[in-house]
């Protein structure tokens, strides 16, 4: 089989070949990345625990609830464990190194979130040291952090009065399933509180969320109503929801944008694939005379068929390679950005790679089958007459 000819054909119109391959690569990257995005959004909802409820401000996620609520909520029947979450909003080294840091009640963190596991370091140290933190396994990988390291963070939400950096002690590395992000950092709320009281930073005793673990057999709906009734008349009205509902709302709140992006991206990918298909079909027509000559020389219909199909597959495969390669190469950067914006779990799975490969094969087949069929049917006599 004169497959070397395919290489020569692609090289002859190298710019067109490169553009076709490039646009297929972009389309396949888009498709893969969008799938990963949608998947990560859904995973947060799917992974939600049935026995957790989330208490936030009725106004907005960014309106804080006073810490004084904690004791009262904890007393409600059915609330077994209660933890508060506060957004710390600092960055490491440069403002591009943004990731989520959370001030929480560290003694109950693993009780409320059994999906978190310590994979390195010491839990005791985390609990004992005031400045201790735990970092997610992906975050630790990104910056090469290990237990015992000091992590300096520059406060944005909580800038230090002395203008310096916060110094955290890395006590351990955790690994978790969604909805807990592997790119977050957790430290003790008490540390923030004490720093605030000592005047090291501007501080108001509040938090973004309370998350309660409800007792087994507790009537969740009743617990939710009991909590919201506490502060019906303010000063800060609460809105309590099951975790799954909270996650779903969070996704749809900002998540309409990803959904819209997915729709637009899908349409764009489709258009790109169509354009590439058109180019491939047009390129195939130019081979008519060459194939006629080859048939006159004694090449069979089957060879002509294979040549056209393999040429199409070569383009699609190269595009697929670029698409999958780009998706993998950008995976951690995109995951990092999304996670910093509270959308954890962006991940290119083997499934998605297989999907992109399948799409590339399908494109190769669709673009190749018609020219291949034509090439095999082509009669040497007519091809040569037409060209002369």
């Amino acid at each position: 089989m004169p497959f070397g000819l395919i290489w020569h054909n692609l090289r002859r119109h190298w710019l067109r070949s490169a553009l076709t391959i490039g646009s297929l690569g972009i389309a396949l990257f888009l498709i893969t990345a969008l799938r990963a995005l949608v998947n990560s959004l859904e995973a947060g909802v799917r992974g939600a625990a049935g026995n957790r409820i989330v208490v936030g401000s009725d106004v907005s996620l960014w309106v804080q609830l006073p810490t004084s609520y904690q004791a009262k909520i904890a007393q409600i029947e059915g609330v077994e464990k209660l933890i508060k979450w506060q957004w710390f909003g600092a960055y490491y080294q440069t403002s591009a190194d943004l990731f989520a840091q959370w001030a929480v009640d560290k003694d109950v963190l693993f009780d409320v979130y059994p999906e978190m596991k310590l994979v390195a370091g010491s839990m005791d140290e985390f609990l004992v040291r005031r400045d201790a933190c735990l970092v997610g396994i992906e975050l630790a990988k990104t910056y090469g952090w290990k237990p015992g390291d000091t992590i300096p963070l520059l406060g944005n939400t909580y800038p230090r009065a002395d203008g310096g950096a916060w110094q955290f002690y890395c006590a351990g590395v955790y690994e978790a399933r969604l909805p807990v992000d592997n790119r977050s950092m957790f430290f003790d709320y008490a540390y923030l509180e004490q720093a605030g009281e000592a005047g090291e930073t501007m501080y108001w005793p509040g938090c973004m969320l309370y998350v309660a673990r409800t007792a087994e057999g507790a009537d969740q709906e009743a617990v939710i109503q009991a909590i919201d009734r506490l502060y019906e008349n303010g000063p800060y009205k609460t809105k309590t929801q099951p975790e799954s509902e909270f996650n779903r709302q969070f996704v749809t709140m900002v998540g309409n944008i990803p959904a819209l992006m997915a729709a637009i991206g899908g349409a764009v990918s489709f258009a790109i694939v169509m354009a590439a298909l058109n180019t491939m079909l047009m390129a195939a027509r130019e081979r008519t005379r060459d194939l006629g000559i080859m048939k006159a020389l004694g090449f069979t219909d089957g060879t002509a068929f294979a040549l056209m199909l393999v040429e199409s597959f070569a383009i699609a495969a190269a595009g697929g390679l670029i698409g999958v390669g780009t998706a993998l190469a950008t995976e951690s950067a995109i995951a990092f950005q999304l996670s910093a914006n509270l959308f954890p779990g962006y991940e290119i799975t083997p499934d998605m790679i297989m999907g992109a490969v399948a799409a590339a094969i399908a494109i190769g087949l669709v673009a190749g089958i018609v020219p291949a069929w034509r090439a095999s049917r082509l009669r040497a006599v007519e091809a040569i007459r037409a060209g002369a």
Binding site: M1, P2, L5, H8, N9, R11, R12, R289, D290, I293, M294, K295, A296, L297, G298, F299, T300, D301, G302, R379, A380, V381, I384, R385, G387, A388
Partner: protein, 239 residues
């Protein structure tokens, strides 16, 4: 007297055109001897190309018998016919013979891909053929970088590379200037005399036709006269 290498018996070829039937070849009978050099002449549209394509196994006759190099072409299916072509005939068409993406030597190597030769043997054989047509120094040029005459000589090298018994050339000098045409005709003459190839060349040009051994006239699908310029040497005289 050995049996003729090309035997055309009662061959009819018709085309349907807008409901009308056009009879291009009408119960044509023709025989050509091995080692001959035939020029096929006739007015435009008289069926010269059609006949050449039938003899070369590129097309099927509607009726009649075609026996070429001992093979009954009407009995061969597509793939067998392709294999037969690869082994038995070399084609030179009028202009645009070469694959534009390939260099001269790669064009000549192309039909050798259908043989069991190794890559090195293919390259060597292709270079020998290019040398024979006087274009060894253009081996790595692309068709675009060659003149029309050079292109035709590369096409002759390609037709020659597989060492076929028969060379079929359809107006090989049709697009060429006098000098280039002369070179191509010199080459065809050499292939016939030195390499004992049977050659059938379609041509309009009486000067080109005069270089052959026999001129076959075709008119309205029927055979006209056959002129003999030079007799074919006998087997005895050759050895």
């Amino acid at each position: 007297m050995p049996s003729p290498i090309i035997q055309v018996h009662g061959v009819t070829k018709q085309y349907q055109r807008g409901g009308e039937t056009l009879t291009v070849l009408d119960k044509l009978d023709l025989e050509m001897a091995e080692g001959g050099y035939y020029a096929l002449m006739g007015p435009s549209g008289s069926g010269k190309t059609t006949l050449l394509n039938l003899i070369g196994g590129l097309d099927h006759a509607d009726s009649g018998e075609l026996i070429v190099a001992g093979e009954d072409l009407t009995s061969l299916n597509g793939n067998d016919l392709a294999a037969w072509r690869a082994e038995t005939v070399g084609f030179v068409f009028q202009g645009f013979n070469l694959l534009p993406v390939l260099t001269a030597v790669k064009n000549v190597e192309l039909p050798l891909l259908l043989t069991p030769l190794s890559a090195r043997q293919r390259r060597e054989q292709a270079l020998r053929a290019l040398e024979l047509v006087g274009l060894a120094d253009r081996a790595n040029h692309r068709p675009k970088q060659l003149s029309g005459g050079q292109e035709q000589r590369v096409a002759i090298a390609r037709a020659l590379a597989t060492d076929p018994k028969i060379i079929l050339a359809d107006e090989p000098t049709g697009d060429l200037d006098r000098v280039s045409a002369g070179q191509v005709l010199d080459l065809l003459g050499r292939l016939n005399e030195e390499f004992k190839k049977t050659i059938l060349m379609v041509t309009h040009d009486p000067i080109a036709a005069a270089r052959s051994r026999s001129i076959v006239h075709l008119d309205k699908g029927k055979l006209g006269s056959i002129e003999h310029n030079r007799p074919l040497e006998t087997a005895a005289a050759r050895s």
